[in-house]
Amino acid sequence: MSGKSNAFGTVLATLGGWLMARAWLLPMAYAVWAAVHPAAYVAKFELMAPLTLQNFAKAFAAAPFATYFLNTCILVSGILVMQFGICTLGAFALARAPFRGQGLIFSLVMVQLMVTPDILIVENYRTLSQLGLVNTLTGIGLPYIASAFGIFLLRQTFRSVPKELEDAARMEGASPLQILWRVYVPLAKPVYAAWGLVSVSFHWNNFLWPLIVTSSVNKRPLTVGLQVFASVDQGIDWSIISAATLMSSAPLLIGFLLFQRQFVQSFMRAGIK
C-alpha cells in the first residue's frame, strides 16, 4: 500500500522535475532558436525552418563587438591578476602572528563586505574624475582590486596551513616573501582557482559601474555594449538581439558547460568558506 503510493509519488516527482527543468531551459532555448533562424521564424516554430548564421554576422556588423570582447577580456584578466597579487600579500599579513592594528585592519576589510560597491558609485566616480581615469578600463577595474572577499578567503586558507611547513622553510633561510610564494600560495591553489572562476564570472557580467564609467564606444565592455545595442541601435529585430546576447555570454556559458563541476564547486566554496 505505502509502496504503491511511494512509487506513484516518485513518478509524479520525476515528472514535475522534468517539467520544471524544461521550463527553466525554455528562455535560453528560445534565444538559441531565434538566433539561428531568419527573422521570419522568430515566433514560428517549424521543424524545417532554415538555419542561418546571418544574425550573428549582422550583430557583428552593426556594433563593434570585437572591441567589446577585447575590452571585457582585458578588464577581467587585469582585475584577476591585480586581485591575486594585492590580496595575496594582504591576506598573508593578516594571517600571520598578531601585530598591533591587525584587528582594526581586518575590520576595515570586512566593511567592504558590508558595503556593496554599487552604492558608492557617486563618490567613486568623483574619485576617478580627479584621477583622470573616467572612461578607461583601468577606471572600471580599480575599485574591485582590493577584494575583501578575496582577502578573507585567502586569509582563512593561509591560517589553515600547518606552521611546521613555514618553520621548515624559515630554517632553510627563506624570506617571508619566499615562504609565501613557495609554501602558502601552492597550498592555496584550489582556492585561487575557485575565487578566479567566481571573479571572472562576476566581472564578465558586471554592468552598472562600467556603464557609468564608460562614455565612448571603444571603451565599453560587453555588457554595456550589449545593452546599448539592444536598446538603441537595433529596434526590435529579436533574432539579431538574441544572436548578440548569446555571443556576449558564450565564452562564460561554454566555459561553464566544459567545467561545470569546477564552476559549481567554486560558487559553493565562495559562498561557504
Binding site: S5, N6, A13, G17, M20, A21, R22, W24, M28, A34, G85, L89, G90, A93, R96, A97, F99, R100, V109, V111, Q112, L113, M114, T116, D118, I119, L120, I121, V122, E123, N124, T127, P143, I145, A146, A148, F152, K163, E166, R170, V198, S199, S201, L208, T223, L226, Q227, A230, W238, I241, T245, S249, L253, F263, V264, F267, M268, G271, I272, K273
Partner: protein, 309 residues
C-alpha cells in the same frame, strides 16, 4: 608554543637569516599597503564622504555646496518617489526571496535523488545564473512585448488579450521579479545540494524504520537539518534583492511612472540623470545603513561564511 617561537624568531632577529632586514611588523604593513590603499580610496573614504555629503546641498555651477543639516533627510521623507522605490524594493524582496528559496529547495531535492537525467536538470537550473543580467533581460523583454512577444502570442492562442507586461504599472514589477527568480533559484539550489549531501543517510533510514513516509521524513528530518542553509541563503537573497539595478536599467528604466524603481536604481537616477549628487548621497546613506544592518546580521549569524560582492 609554535606562536611564541614565531614571534621570538622575528622580533629578536636571532634565528632569522641576515636577509631579513625589516622587523616583522614592518613587513606586515608593507604587504598590507597596496590592499589598504585601494580599500581606503575606493571603499572606506567614499563611504565616509557619502555620509558627510548627505548633510549638504548639491553645488550648482560655480556656487559652493551649502550646509543642509537634516534638510536632505527631510526632503527624503517627503519624497514620494523614494517611498515608492522603498515599497517596490520591499515587495520585490518579499516575493523573490521566499519563492527563490522554495524553488531552490525543490530543485535540489529533485536533482539530489536518483532521478533520471539529473545532470541535465542541474544544468538547466543553474545555467541562467551564468548569464549576464543584461542578456537575460534581452530575452525576457521579447517575451514580455505586447502582441508580438512570446507570452502574448501564446496567450492569443487561448483567446487572451494583448498585454504590455513591462509597460503596465500593475504588472511591470512582477515581470521583473519573474526574471530575478529565474536567474537566482538555480544559484541557491547549489547550496541546498551541498547541504543535502551532508545529511547522514542513517538519519533518513532511521526515520523510515520508524515508519515515516517520504513526506514526513522531509518535514521532520530533512527540512530542520537544512535550516542553517535556509537562513544563509535567505539573508543573502535579501541582501541581493536590495542590490538589484541592472535589471531595472535594461528592462524598464524604472518606469512606467516609477512602478519599477528600486533603491539603488533611484540613487543611480538621482546622481547620473538628475545630477543631484548630494541628494543621491542621502539616499545612499539610508541604503548603507540598511544593508550594513543586514550584513551585520549575516555576519553575526554565519561568521566565516561570506559571499562574493
Amino acid at each position: 608554543m609554535a606562536g611564541a617561537h614565531r614571534q621570538s624568531g622575528s622580533v629578536a632577529g636571532g634565528t632569522a637569516p641576515p636577509a631579513h632586514r625589516l622587523a616583522a611588523p614592518m613587513q606586515n604593513w608593507l604587504m598590507l599597503l597596496p590592499a589598504l590603499l585601494f580599500l581606503v580610496v575606493f571603499t572606506i573614504a567614499p563611504t565616509i564622504v557619502t555620509i558627510i555629503d548627505s548633510f549638504w546641498f548639491t553645488p550648482h555651477g560655480a556656487k559652493a555646496a551649502t550646509f543642509a543639516g537634516m534638510a536632505q533627510y527631510e526632503a527624503l521623507l517627503a519624497d514620494p518617489i523614494f517611498w515608492q522605490a522603498l515599497r517596490n524594493n520591499l515587495l520585490y524582496a518579499a516575493v523573490t526571496v521566499p519563492v527563490s528559496i522554495i524553488l531552490a529547495l525543490a530543485m535540489a531535492l529533485w536533482t539530489n535523488g536518483r532521478i533520471k537525467g539529473r545532470a541535465f536538470m542541474r544544468l538547466a537550473f543553474f545555467l541562467p545564473t551564468m548569464l549576464p543580467m543584461i542578456g537575460a533581460a534581452n530575452i525576457w523583454i521579447y517575451f514580455y512585448t505586447a502582441d508580438y512577444g512570446l507570452i502574448d502570442q501564446i496567450g492569443h492562442l487561448f483567446g487572451a488579450g494583448s498585454h504590455n507586461w513591462l509597460g503596465n504599472p500593475h504588472t511591470a514589477l512582477g515581470a521583473l521579479m519573474v526574471v530575478a527568480i529565474w536567474k537566482e533559484a538555480g544559484f541557491f539550489m547549489v547550496f541546498y545540494l551541498a547541504a543535502l549531501q551532508q545529511i547522514p543517510p542513517s538519519l533518513i533510514e532511521a526515520a523510515q524504520l520508524e515508519g515515516a513516509n517520504a513526506w514526513q521524513t522531509f518535514w521532520r528530518v530533512t527540512l530542520p537539518l537544512l535550516m542553517p542553509t535556509t537562513l544563509f541563503v535567505g539573508v543573502n537573497a535579501l541582501i541581493n534583492s536590495f542590490r538589484v539595478v541592472d535589471q531595472v536599467i535594461s528592462m524598464t528604466g524604472g518606469g512606467p511612472d516609477n512602478a519599477t524603481s528600486l533603491l539603488i536604481f533611484y540613487v543611480y537616477q538621482t546622481a547620473f540623470s538628475f545630477w543631484d549628487t548630494y541628494y543621491g548621497a542621502t539616499i545612499s546613506t539610508v541604503l548603507l545603513l540598511g544593508l550594513g544592518l543586514l550584513s551585520f546580521l549575516q555576519f553575526a549569524l554565519f561568521g566565516r561564511r561570506v559571499h562574493y560582492r
